[in-house]
């Protein structure tokens, strides 16, 4: 085979999406002409005004919702439904309360049924260790704190060794402190797992801190309003959040979202 220029890891081409509401018998335009390419190894965040359709976009990439027009390609293959090349870290940790930490991490492998039980166990063990929960493999979710449960949630997705990791506001339910620490942890985990990631959040601060690029969506129907390159020097540590460069980026993105909110009347200025 000839080595051609590798296509983007994720290639979203002119995607529009309408959701049909059975009760009102009306269609709601949620996404409009989304074009986005994510390169291998990149972490791209998606932000936008509340309710603009960020999560819907992520669900469409995961294949949980079908798009109305356009195409979503992962590694050159069109997305038609959930597949092993993508794995989602859910907003609510949604861990199965009847499975232990390691059994939760094994869930996707259990469904696949490709590996032997011992191999599945071993891969789960490695991932539980990766997210720093070695001593808790046999604990049940209710015995863990919110931050620990989110680590399991991340491990459950990473164990599938996905080409593309999708994260739907994974830290939204955490308290502010735990959230900051988990951001640093996530960067370390992703660096080790060498995964491409698409990250949805409503926290601009979080998006800037984590990402190589931040995609700003407009109010619904969401179109891409801007794509901001996050060029920050050095290692991503929490201290970075207080540097002028960081604050400047944060301000810039916030103004974009503010514009959208004002445009749609979500923000009333006294």
């Amino acid at each position: 085979m000839m080595e051609v220029a590798r296509p983007a890891k994720l290639d979203v081409r002119r995607v529009s999406l309408e959701l049909y509401n059975e009760r009102t018998d009306q269609s709601l335009a949620v996404l409009r002409d989304i074009d986005l390419q994510v390169r291998a190894g990149e972490l791209v965040s998606v932000v936008g005004p509340s309710g603009c359709g960020k999560s819907t976009f992520l669900n469409a990439v995961d294949g949980l919702i079908a798009v109305t027009a356009g195409q979503i390609m992962v590694d050159g293959h069109a997305v038609t439904g959930p597949g092993p090349d993508r794995a989602m870290v859910f907003q609510h940790d949604s861990l199965f309360p009847w499975r232990t930490v390691s059994e939760n991490v094994m869930y996707g492998l259990d469904l696949q049924g490709k590996l032997r039980k011992a191999e599945r166990r071993e891969r789960a063990r490695a991932l539980v260790e990766l997210v720093g929960l070695s001593g808790f493999a046999e604990h049940y979710p209710h015995e863990l704190s919110g931050g620990m449960r989110q680590r399991v949630n991340i491990a459950r997705a990473l164990v599938m060794e996905p080409q593309l990791l999708l994260l739907d506001e994974p830290f939204a339910a955490l308290d502010a402190q735990t959230r900051e620490f988990m951001q640093v942890e996530l960067l370390k985990i992703l660096a080790r797992a060498k995964t491409t990631a698409l990250f949805v959040t409503h926290q601009i601060n979080e998006a800037v801190f984590l990402s190589d690029r931040v995609v700003v969506l407009s109010a619904r129907p969401a179109a891409i309003k801007a794509v901001i390159d996050v060029e920050l020097p050095g290692e991503r540590a929490l201290a970075l959040k207080h540097t002028p460069r960081f604050l400047e980026l944060e301000q810039r993105i916030w103004r974009l979202i503010e514009q959208e909110a004002e445009r749609t009347g979500m923000l009333t200025v006294a």
Binding site: D62, L64, P82, G83, P84, A87, M88, F90, H92, D93, S94, F96, P97, W98, Y107, G108, D110, L111, Q112, R123, A126, L127, E129, L130, V131, G132, L133, S134, F136, Y140, P141, H142, E143, L144, S145, G146, G147, M148, R151, M160, E161, A173, L174, Q177, T178, F181, E185, K188, I189, R192, A193
Partner: protein
Amino acid sequence: MDDQTKSVGQPHAEELAQRASRSTARSRSFWRRREHALLGTLSMLIFLAFWEAAVAFGWVNPLFTSSPSRIVRTAIDLFADGSIWTDIQVSGLEFLIGYGAAVVIGVPLGILMGWYSRLDAVLDPFVSALYATPRIALLPLVMIWFGIGIMSKVAIVFLGAIFPILVNTITGVRTVNADFVKVARSFGSSDRQMFLTVALPSSVPLLLTGLRLGIGHALIGIVVGEMYGATHGLGFLIATAGARFQTDKVMVGIIIIAAAGVAMTELLRLIERRFERWRPAVGG
């Protein structure tokens, strides 16, 4: 994978502290539960003492009220001469067969009806109608079909117990947390896997609730069934003793049934509590 195996960090101290504080909270509530039980026992003892005193001082006629000491004496006599054992055995057997059949049929049928909506559509009118009917109203029919012997009581116990089991199991299988369904779908679950890994385990708490409610209904079936027509059994004992104004004997029968009911219900409540964590947690 190899380069992934090295841990990149331990849970933050904050998280460990949270865990610790949660476990002290648990031990504190353990003592609070003890206090609850102690107060309950105390109030029960005061009630019994008052009851005994009321009879001893002649405030009430023991022919109507009996008294704790009389009940104990009568119970000792009944167990000594052995007659009550037959009644306990007969009632116990009726419960075992009737309730056992209700579980063996009700749980699988409930799971099937919960999962296959077509089966549910076919059977639901019968289940809903019979669940709403007091099953005791069927006693005369059951007697005509099965006679005065043990089988008619088995049938009425079965009819009493199966509906709460059935209805709760159906609801349990059907009310699956939407988040879990989404997770399973995202990981590429087939319908069969969705059933086995999500619907079935999440139905367990409600299934156990059904089993617990079934016990109460089964006991009602035994007592009323035996009162209506029987030759042995605790309900029969209560009915015949009552007709002869043997209040002490009536009380003994009531207490045995009540004790059996409380013991079985509590046992199931304990099991339910173990599985309580299977119910999806609310909030973060």
